[in-house]
């Protein structure tokens, strides 16, 4: 069968998009609509499942199947769906509050089970929909509606947590960095197993500019570092700075000052997550923050494959279940 060639516009639903003007969510929506047509998956085979939050309105805007579920639980719906319908491509759309506050547990369990779904975490470091309370990724001391004297919670690092939870694909991108975002979403879609993409997303109403160091086109080169598998970690507008490892610490060096092979070479494929974890600890302003794919390991069984494999194996071993035979098994007796 020849699939009709789809365009980004074919993925737009008939609903008005209702985010604030200037919200970073628009860009993520746009890049998603660009990526999907390139995957060769028909629209009706795609499902978007979200929790609650500004970000979680996403499914309404996609002309695919979708569920705007309840706060924090999107991964659970996705798990049940994917386990029973492995033929579908399932996306989870979530926010920093949705995924890491109320939903933290489902988040780590989806990752460790390696359910073949793609999680896109819109991290604006704030609760948007409820109008501006701090979130688990808000900075220490951040003043918000619920923290007039500054937040006293130490923020969670979503990528560190994901890596510790046995994630097989972990990446980061930025709303405003559209090409990078598009490419990263595509990589996530292609990974078999749970993929997590953290997207720095500007909430221009309640947390404007919180990540401008990375979003702003002029600041970005100094404050972020684009990861590429097998390539050394180099950054800066003039690509004049790099990262090397000394002992088990990272440090910034001028590329001019050190031999090229002194720089840390990114290896997204290594099974041990320690190096990826180390990259996740690089935080602004001490370090440029890595963007791109931190980890993409293959060959770790997915939950959906395994649950279905066990069904197949059981059928192979015992034959397809026969209800009458089951009922008649064991001790029975006749009453005439």
């Amino acid at each position: 069968m020849n699939l009709p060639v789809l365009k980004a516009a074919d993925f737009a639903s008939d609903q008005d998009v209702r985010w604030c003007p200037g919200c970073g969510d628009y860009s993520i929506l746009a890049q998603m609509k660009k990526v999907l047509p390139t995957l060769g998956v028909p629209r009706e085979k795609i499902v978007f499942i979200s929790g609650i939050g500004c970000s979680s309105r996403f499914p309404y805007y996609m002309n695919t199947y979708g569920m705007h579920s309840i706060h924090g639980r999107a991964p659970t719906f996705a798990t049940g769906l994917k386990a029973t319908r492995p033929d579908l491509m399932v996306w989870v759309i979530t926010g920093d509050g949705d995924a890491l506050s109320i939903g933290g547990n489902h988040f780590i369990h989806a990752l460790r089970r390696n359910v073949d779904v793609n999680i896109v975490l819109f991290n604006n470091r704030i609760y948007g929909l409820t109008k501006g309370q701090y979130s688990p990724t808000s900075g220490e001391g951040q003043v918000t509606k619920s923290t007039p004297m500054g937040s006293i919670d130490h923020p969670l690092n979503p990528l560190s947590v994901a890596l510790a939870a046995e994630a097989t694909f972990v990446a980061r991108s930025i709303d405003a960095h559209v090409k990078h975002l598009e490419a990263t979403l595509k990589r996530a879609a292609e990974h078999k197993g749970t993929s997590l993409v953290e997207v720095y997303q500007n909430c221009n109403v309640f947390n404007d500019g919180a990540m401008s160091y990375a979003q702003d086109r002029t600041q970005r080169p100094e404050n972020t570092i684009e990861l590429e598998h097998g390539k050394p970690l180099i950054f800066g507008k003039d690509r004049d700075k790099g990262i090397r490892m000394v002992g088990n610490r990272l440090e910034i060096v001028r590329t001019a000052d050190v031999p090229a092979d002194d720089l840390l070479i990114h290896d997204e494929k290594t099974l041990d997550p320690t190096q990826h974890f180390m990259l996740s600890r690089m935080r602004h302003p001490e370090f440029p923050e890595p963007i791109g794919v931190f980890r993409d390991v293959q060959g770790i069984a997915t939950y959906d494959d395994q649950i279905n494999d066990q069904v197949a194996a059981a059928r192979d071993a015992k034959g397809t279940g026969d209800l009458q035979q089951l009922f008649n098994s064991g001790d029975t007796w006749e009453v005439a």
Binding site: I70, P75, F77, T79, G80, V311, L323
Partner: protein, 637 residues
């Protein structure tokens, strides 16, 4: 010596039914013994009903009162509905078991004691001052038979050269043999069981067999009992039977429902007493296309269930009270997105963590109202272990017909109890028709995911279907399109429609049946696991000349359409419940009938006697009931 009932030479007495309780330390294997006796009795054609009762601890401290594990079974030559109130025979393995169970043995009943378990050390553990066997009242009130079970078992297996520890583990089989002799039961099924279970350890198998036979021989040889008892086969409906436990029947019912609807089954759950055994049972049937998901918690379990339902699978979740509380928010979503699924609550003693291993019926109002907003759901309750099989199928049928989650309220008593179950003929089961709409003929015609059929159900369009792409969610949705809508009139309409959809179920379920007259003096209205006790109590009252009827309600929401008229046709309506009056509240509200509650919240089922007394007291108000009372003194059935 041959050891089979036929080969016994002792005098035999025929009786219509026997209630036995086996009690010992939780390490003594009482549950196994009880299950074997039940199965053997069922195989002998008796009707049986059981009530296992074990401590909350995995291994409660040995020898203590808290560590006593009991198993009660009634087997009878006629149809029975409860495991019996008072015991005809009590078998105890240690002092703690004796002191905690003796009160339930009827005067003149048989008390079998493992004498070897009675020593100072054990008295201390059981917190008793002196040897209770020395109490003279014991001898005068009961037919007490003291047996050196430990010693005799050791002797029986001595030639196998096992360690004392292993040898002592066989003493429950000695007790079993003795009990089998006493009630003329065949050893065959248990011998088969021993082979199945211990076949891989031949010396253990041999030891258990020897102990079993030795127990039988002890009964036959000594004159301790004098007489043994026989209970004839009961007259059950013709068919092939097997003994089933409630949770097992429930799991099988789900398999049957999946089969009937041509679906595979997804079961999302998180372990919790007393629902976990459903998971243990279902996970064996992967070759039936069953996928079980042990989630990280109850919220994930119900979430995954809704996800699977969205995908078109038959999806089920189960828990007990505290877990159901956690599912509340997602159940609201399930109701709002109008997807079919079954939510099972195997109720236990509440509130909070409560009494996890005990039974109660106190989650009915939680099922009705335990969610935010107006979120009505159909609710059904099985009445006995075997009935679980039927009720979950009915629940799935309604779920599909209405496109809604349906709740099933089982309880710990049903879940762990067992009874003979007539094996159904799978080939002749009705299909449960499921329809998933196809891609629309006219692609320009927009798909309306909230368009409704005559049952007010919306279409179950599933991902993968071209042209039917749509989005669902928990915000109020526009009639027809399912888009988010804040329109006031639409919200009213959708609220009314969701209520109406559930109300309409009343049109498609059977009218309430009545046992006895359909109008008159007293009507007993019950639901769920109290069926057996209520039915038995009512029929005993009827036979004693009281005009009492019984309506057992299986559909709790909506209630059967004739129920109101029925209630109004009786002078007195009694509602026995293992709670403080939850169905009673629904009935009073709905029908404005001044129902009277008979309530018990003790973690235990009703005894028939309790109910008979409560019914009699109400029925006899202002009447001379001397004759009735005389008749009631005679135990009937």
């Amino acid at each position: 010596m041959e050891t089979s009932p036929e080969s016994s030479n002792s005098p035999v007495e025929h009786v219509s039914g026997i209630t036995v309780r086996l009690a010992g330390d939780s390490g003594d294997g009482m549950q196994l013994l009880g299950t074997q006796l039940t199965n053997t009795s069922a195989l002998a054609g008796n009707d049986v009903a059981t009530f296992p009762d074990f401590p909350a601890e995995i291994r409660a401290p040995r020898g203590t009162r808290a560590g006593v594990s009991g198993f009660q079974v009634q087997f009878a030559a006629e149809e029975i509905f409860t495991p019996g109130d008072t015991l005809d025979c009590l078998v105890v393995m240690n002092p703690a078991a004796l002191v905690t169970n003796l009160a339930d043995l009827r005067k003149g009943g048989i008390l079998v004691v493992n004498e070897d378990g009675f020593n100072e050390k054990e008295f201390k553990l059981a917190k008793i001052d002196k040897n209770p066997l020395e109490d003279e009242v014991l001898e005068s009130s009961y037919r007490i038979v003291k047996v050196s079970m430990t010693k005799l078992t050791r002797e029986a297996v001595s030639e196998l050269g096992l360690s004392v520890k292993i040898a002592d583990r066989c003493k429950n089989f000695f007790a079993m043999g003795l009990v089998y002799w006493l009630f003329g039961r065949s050893l065959e099924p248990t011998l088969r069981f021993i082979q199945d279970k211990f076949g891989k350890k031949p010396d253990v198998a041999q030891a258990n067999e020897s102990a079993l036979r030795a127990g039988w021989a002890f009964g036959e040889t000594t004159e301790a009992f004098g007489v043994s008892y026989r209970v004839e086969a009961a007259e059950l409906e013709p068919g092939t039977y097997k003994n089933v436990m409630g949770n097992q029947a429930l799991a099988w019912g789900l398999l049957a429902a999946a089969h009937r609807s041509g679906k595979e089954l997804f079961y999302g759950t998180y372990p919790i007493t007393p629902a976990s055994d459903i998971l243990h049972e279902l996970t064996k049937y992967k070759n039936f296309g069953v996928r079980t998901f042990q989630a990280e918690d109850e919220i994930a379990a119900v979430g995954a269930t809704i996800g699977a339902a969205f995908g078109g699978t038959m999806a089920v979740t189960a828990s007990s009270g505290p877990g159901i509380a956690l599912k509340a928010e997602a159940m609201g979503l399930g109701m709002m997105v109008e997807l079919p699924m079954v939510v099972i609550n195997v109720q236990r003693g509440g509130p909070s963590t409560g009494l996890p291993t005990k039974t109660e019926q106190s989650d009915l109002l939680q099922a009705m109202f335990g969610r935010n907003g107006e979120s009505p759901l159909p609710i059904l309750a099985p009445q006995s272990p075997g009935d679980c099989f039927d009720v979950v199928q009915e629940a799935w049928r309604l779920a599909v017909e209405c496109m809604t989650p349906v709740m099933v309220l089982s309880d710990g008593y049903i879940a762990n109890g067992s009874e003979p179950w007539k094996i159904p003929d799978v080939a002749s089961m009705d299909p449960i028709v499921v329809h998933h709409p196809d891609a629309p003929g006219d692609a320009d015609e927009p798909f309306l995911p909230y368009m409704r059929d005559e049952n007010l159900a919306r279409p179950w369009a599933i991902p993968g279907t071209d042209g039917l792409m749509h989005r669902i969610g928990g915000l109020e949705k526009e009639d027809g399109t399912g888009n988010v809508s804040y329109d006031p009139a639409n919200h009213q309409h959708m609220t009314d429609t969701r209520a109406q959809k559930v109300a309409l179920v009343a049109e498609r379920i059977p009218e309430q049946e009545v046992f006895g007259e359909t109008e008159g003096e007293v009507l007993v209205v019950s639901w769920g696991g109290t069926y057996g006790a209520c039915h038995t109590a009512v029929s005993r009252c009827q036979r004693a000349g009281l005009t009492v009827s019984h309506a057992h309600v299986r559909y709790l929401n909506p209630l059967p359409r004739n129920l109101g008229d029925l209630l109004k046709s009786f002078k007195t309506v009694l509602v026995p419940e293992l709670n403080t009056g939850q169905l009673r509240m629904l009935l009073r509200h709905q029908y404005l009938v001044d129902c009277i509650g008979i309530n018990k919240v003790q973690g235990k089922p009703f005894t028939v006697t309790e109910l008979v007394e409560a019914i009699r007291d109400q029925a006899c108000i202002g009447k001379d009931c001397t004759v009735v009372d005389q008749k009631l003194k005679i135990r009937v059935g």
